[in-house]
């Protein structure tokens, strides 16, 4: 009975919307819905006129807010750290000395590597050619996607599918380029798929985003069979067979391996090296 009454009310209301001149709001909603469905169908992730115009208006406002943010945050940070400045300074000086020594040793290895490659007549491996640095100015507010906005665009040489890294490792790739800003999809996004390899065995694997697992900052490796040589704590790097990503960029570490006895595959979870909660500056490098 209540179901019939509800049904009767809804159909009566719908008749009223379409026949009553006073209820023209309902007609506008229907027209609006049809127009929006068509717009959804014909637009995609690629930049369009609307996103470009919006980026010209929103990017300066982003820069203003982020500037204020840095000023206030920086001031508080400075005041909070005044007491520890001396010890921090000593610690940094020691670390600097160690890094200088490590850098010297690495340069020696680099020269030796170059000589050996020349002997074997192998072409020199490019280090990652940096196109530009960029600041993260906004993130997608929804829980389901891991997309953020950077303040560089077409005018700065950014192109679609450009690889984004920071000092910790692989961040993601550019998915939409406007004139003065771009959208970057993190590797933890469910739509992301990166061609990687296991650092020890160099076996190729596909790393997919799994932001709906655990706390949202996790990836997973697909199609790992039970006879794959993989251990917890293993490093994952970008592979040499990817069309987009240069080889050897650190991606993350294996944190969990789940074996399902009923199937021949294992679920492997990877924690990215990059801390997406505190990402502020990134580098864009040329892809292959």
């Amino acid at each position: 009975m209540p179901v019939l009454c509800t049904y009767h009310y809804i159909t009566q209301r719908m008749m009223q919307v379409y026949t009553n001149k006073k209820s023209h709001k309902g007609k506008y909603i229907v027209v609006g819905t049809i127009i929006l469905i068509i717009t959804i169908a014909i637009t995609s992730e690629k930049a369009n006129f609307a996103t470009n115009i919006t980026s010209y208006i929103t990017t300066p406002v982003y820069r203003l807010f982020n500037g204020i943010n840095s000023l206030i945050g920086g001031s508080f940070n400075y005041i909070a750290r005044i007491g520890t400045l001396e010890t921090d300074n000593e610690k940094l000086l020691k670390e600097n000395e160690k890094l200088k020594y490590d850098n010297f040793i690495l340069n020696e290895f680099k020269e030796e590597n170059k000589e050996l490659r020349n002997l074997l007549e192998m072409s020199e491996k490019d280090t990652y050619p940096v196109v530009t640095g960029a600041g993260v100015i906004g993130v997608d507010p929804s829980s389901y996607s891991k997309i953020f906005i950077i303040d560089k665009g077409k005018n700065n040489g950014v192109t679609e599918n450009m690889v984004v890294i920071n000092y910790q490792g692989l961040v993601g790739k550019v998915i939409q380029v406007n004139d003065i800003s771009s959208k970057v999809m993190a590797i933890t996004d469910e739509e992301s798929a990166v061609s990687c390899m296991l650092q020890r065995s160099k076996e190729p694997v596909i790393l997919k985003g799994a932001n709906l697992q655990d706390n949202g900052d996790v990836c997973k490796l697909d199609y790992i069979t039970t006879d794959t040589d993989i251990i917890e704590g293993e490093d994952i790097i970008t592979s040499n067979i990817s069309d987009i990503y240069p080889e050897g960029i650190p991606v993350g570490k294996v944190i969990k391996i789940q074996t399902d006895s009923s199937t021949l595959v294992r679920q492997v979870y990877v924690k990215p090296n990059v801390n997406y909660r505190r990402i502020n500056n990134v580098l864009l490098i040329k892809n292959k």
Binding site: E45, K183, L212
Partner: protein, 163 residues
Amino acid sequence: MNNTVKTVLGLFIFAIINTIYIRYFNIMGITPNINAIVVVLIGLNMGMAKGAYYGLYLGLLIDMIVGSSLGLNALIYMYIGYVSGALAKRMYNESILISTIAIIIADIFYNLVIYCTHYLPKDYEFIKYCIRVLLPEAIYTLGLFLCIYYLMVLIRKQINQGL
């Protein structure tokens, strides 16, 4: 300044601030749907038509700033604004219960549409999505809404006492 211009500018600034500061509200990968809160409040207080228009406007802004396709958020928030306005017309008398029901329905509706468009085509389990995203986000959004609601009531009381 005209109320419409104020609301339009206000929503524009809000959309930008939301994308800058929302990451600080992230708990275990879940962020509250503050856009839904704003649209529901507009719908409840301004009526069906304005709720739908401002919902459409805010959704379009979100789509143009961070969205994947132009129109999805616009469509969802337009309906949220329209239905909130309809609830206000029928039942709302500054009642916390109606506001609570409106925000829960709005958030669940938003996540259901996102599931149908993004996850159902990939055969992602609905139960898993509910446990991981839908329910936690609805609870978080509701909690934040109640805080904002009581803050608004407090401010209004202070203003009325001041007058």
